[in-house]
C-alpha cells in the first residue's frame, strides 16, 4: 500500500533523509522510530504531498506522491506532529469543513462527523470553539480530521503527544482497532507504543533507515541470543568459573541464590554466538547440576539504542 524507494530530501546543504526505502502492506501498522531530527517527519511530509522529494520514488495505493499527488491525498489521513486549527470554528463545524474539503459527499458528512467525534472522544466539546479546548482535545481533533474521510491510509506523526495516560490508552486502542482495515504509518518516540500497536518497526537514524522488521526479527538480526539465564545446583563459585570458562561468554552479569532452587546466573554472551551447548558441557565437567537454561531476548529498547548508537544490524539471511 505504501512503497518508498531510494527517497532523498535535501534542504540547501542539509541532507534530511537519504536513500530511504521501506514498504507497508495493506492493513499493516508500521511503527516509525527514530531520535529527533532523524527524518521521520520529512518522510511523512513527502508521503502526504506536503513536500516533494529531491529524488527517489514514493507511492501510496499505487499512486505516485509527486505526479499523482491529488489521488494520494484523496486516500490518506494525515496527523502532523505540529499543526494549527481554525480557532474561530467550533469542533463540529471544523470537522464538517474538513470533510467537505476532503470530498466527503454532503449526505455522508454529518454521519462521518458524528462517528469520528465518538471514536476520538470529542463528544463533550463538539459545540465548543476550538480556541477554548485543551491541548489533549486539540490532539484528538487532529486525529479526528485525519479520520473524517475514512481514508485507506493513515499517516500519524506522534499521535499521542500531549495526551494524559488515560487518553494515550484510548487513542492506542483506537489505532490498534484499525489493524487489518487501514494501512498505518505511525511515528513515535515511545517504544512501548510501538510494541503495543505495531506489526513491524522501521528505525530511522541520521536520515537513513537502519532497520525494518518485526521486534522478534530485529532481536535475531542483532546477531546474538542476547543473554542467558543459567539455573544450576552446586557450589556457586564452581558454577561461575565453569560458565566464565566458556569462550563465547562475555561476562556473568549477576547471580542470585534461590536457596531451594539453586543459583541463578545471568550471562552476557558474545555477539553472534550461541554457547548453550558449551555451557552445559562445562557445568557437567565441573560436577554441577544444570536445572534450567533459558535465553533472555533482546528488548526493543536494546535494538533501538544499538541502532541509534550506530551499530550495524546484519541483514536477515
Amino acid at each position: 500500500m505504501i512503497e518508498v524507494k531510494g527517497l532523498t530530501k535535501i534542504y540547501g546543504r542539509t541532507v534530511a533523509i537519504q536513500d530511504v526505502s521501506f514498504s507497508v502492506a495493506k492493513g499493516e501498522i508500521l511503527g516509525f522510530l527514530g531520535p529527533n531530527g532523524a527524518g521521520k517527519t520529512t518522510t511523512m511530509r513527502i508521503l502526504t504531498g506536503h513536500t516533494p522529494p529531491t529524488s527517489g520514488i514514493a507511492s501510496v495505493a499505487g499512486f505516485d506522491v509527486v505526479t499523482e499527488s491529488l489521488e494520494v491525498r484523496r486516500r490518506i489521513g494525515y496527523l502532523p506532529e505540529t499543526f494549527g486549527l481554525y480557532e474561530d470554528m467550533t469542533v463540529d463545524t471544523y470537522l464538517l469543513f474538513m470533510a467537505e474539503v476532503k470530498g466527503v459527499g454532503r449526505e455522508r458528512r454529518k454521519g462521518r462527523m458524528q462517528a469520528v467525534i465518538e471514536e476520538t472522544g470529542l463528544s463533550s466539546c463538539a459545540n465548543r470553539l476550538i480556541r477554548n479546548i485543551s491541548k489533549g482535545y486539540r490532539q484528538r481533533l487532529g486525529l479526528a480530521q485525519a479520520l473524517i474521510a475514512d481514508p485507506e491510509v493513515l499517516i500519524l506523526d506522534e499521535p499521542t503527544i500531549g495526551l494524559d495516560p488515560a487518553q494515550i490508552r484510548e487513542i492506542r486502542t483506537l489505532i490498534k482497532a484499525f489493524m487489518g482495515q487501514k494501512t498505518i504509518l505511525l511515528s513515535t518516540h515511545i517504544l512501548a507504543e510501538v510494541t503495543a500497536i505495531c506489526n513491524r518497526i522501521a528505525i530511522i537514524n541520521l536520515g537513513r533507515i537502519a532497520v525494518v522488521g518485526t521486534p522478534e526479527e530485529l532481536s535475531r538480526r542483532l546477531g546474538t541470543v542476547g543473554r542467558l539465564s543459567v539455573l544450576a545446583a552446586g557450589d556457586p563459585v564452581r558454577i561461575r568459573h565453569a560458565i566464565e570458562g566458556v569462550a563465547a561468554v562475555r561476562s556473568v552479569l549477576k547471580s542470585e541464590n534461590l536457596h531451594e532452587g539453586g543459583h541463578l546466573f545471568h550471562v552476557d554472551v558474545k555477539k553472534g554466538s550461541d554457547p548453550r551447548k558449551d555451557i552445559v558441557s562445562a557445568l557437567v565437567d565441573a560436577g554441577c547440576n544444570l536445572l534450567e537454561l533459558t535465553t533472555e531476548g533482546v528488548s526493543l529498547e536494546d535494538v533501538y539504542m544499538r541502532v541509534v548508537m550506530g551499530e550495524t544490524i546484519k541483514p536477515e539471511t
Partner: protein, 255 residues
C-alpha cells in the same frame, strides 16, 4: 473544490471584528466626503456669481459629484484591500493551518480562487451598499446613469486587481503587517506612477502612464469603457494571481 475554502474564508472574515471596523471607517469616510461634495455642489449651483467666478456656468452633477465619488471610492480601496487581504495566506502559514490544507485533496489554485472570491464578495458588498449615494443623487437630481454604471464597472476591475495584488503580498510573508505594508506600498506605487513620471518625455513617460492604475480609471469616470483599460486591469489581476500561485507552489519545494 474552491467552494469550501471560499465559504470558510467568508465566515472567518465575517467573524472577525476587523471587517466591521474597516466597513465602519469606510462608510463614514464615504458618507462624509460624498455628502460634502453634494453640499458644496448645491452651494455653488445656487450662487450664479460663484459659478461665474469658477467658470462653471455649465456645471452638472455628473462631473462634480459622480466622478469625485468614484475617485474617492477607488482611493479608499487602496487602503481597505491590503487590510482585508493581509491575513489570507500569511495567517494560515503563521498558525500552521496551511500544513493540513495542502495535504487535503485540493489544488493550490482552488485555495487561491476560494480566498480571492471571498475577499471579492466582501468588497462587492461594501460597494453595493455605497450604491445608495448614486440612488440618492438620482432621487434629487439627474446624474448620467451610464456614467455611474461605467464607473462601477471600472471600480470592479480595479478591486479585482487590488485583491490580486493583496493576495500576492500575503503569499510572500508570514507576517500580516508586512503583508499589508507591502501591498499598500505596491498599490500606491502603481496608482501614483503615472502622476509622478508621465510628464517625462519619451518612453519613460509612456511606460509610466501605461502602468498607472489611476490613468486607467479616468475613462471609466467619464462613462467611457476603453478596451485597453479593461485589458490593463485583467492583465494586472491575472499576473498577480499567477505569481501568487507560483509562490504557493514554490513554497512546497522549499519547506
Amino acid at each position: 473544490m474552491w467552494y469550501p475554502i471560499y465559504k470558510r474564508e467568508l465566515k472567518a472574515s465575517l467573524h472577525s471584528p476587523v471587517i466591521y471596523v474597516l466597513a465602519g471607517i469606510f462608510f463614514f469616510l464615504m458618507s462624509y466626503f460624498t455628502l460634502g461634495m453634494m453640499t458644496e455642489f448645491a452651494d455653488v449651483y445656487a450662487d450664479y456669481n460663484m459659478r461665474q467666478m469658477y467658470g462653471m456656468e455649465n456645471m452638472n452633477v455628473t462631473d462634480w459629484i459622480v466622478r469625485g465619488f468614484f475617485g474617492l471610492m477607488n482611493f479608499l480601496m487602496l487602503f481597505m484591500i491590503p487590510l482585508l487581504t493581509m491575513r489570507l495566506f500569511a495567517e494560515e502559514r503563521r498558525n500552521r493551518t496551511y500544513d493540513l490544507l495542502v495535504t487535503c485533496p485540493v489544488r493550490d489554485g482552488d485555495i487561491l480562487i476560494g480566498k480571492f472570491l471571498a475577499a471579492l464578495t466582501i468588497i462587492l458588498a461594501l460597494l453595493a451598499v455605497c450604491f445608495i449615494f448614486p440612488l440618492l443623487l438620482k432621487h434629487y437630481s439627474s446624474p448620467e446613469m451610464p456614467v455611474v454604471f461605467a464607473g462601477y464597472f471600472g471600480l470592479l476591475l480595479s478591486v479585482l486587481a487590488y485583491i490580486a495584488f493583496g493576495i500576492f503580498a500575503s503569499s510572500v510573508t508570514e507576517n500580516q503587517i508586512i503583508s499589508a505594508f507591502l501591498s499598500f506600498a505596491g498599490l500606491l506605487f502603481f496608482y501614483l506612477i503615472g502622476d509622478v513620471t508621465s510628464s517625462q518625455e519619451g518612453w519613460k513617460g509612456a511606460v509610466a502612464s501605461a502602468l498607472s492604475i489611476r490613468q486607467h480609471t479616468l475613462s471609466f469616470a467619464k462613462g467611457v469603457i476603453e478596451l485597453r483599460d479593461v485589458f490593463y486591469f485583467c492583465a494586472f489581476t491575472f499576473i498577480f494571481l499567477f505569481l501568487s500561485l507560483e509562490i504557493l507552489k514554490m513554497r512546497r519545494w522549499r519547506t
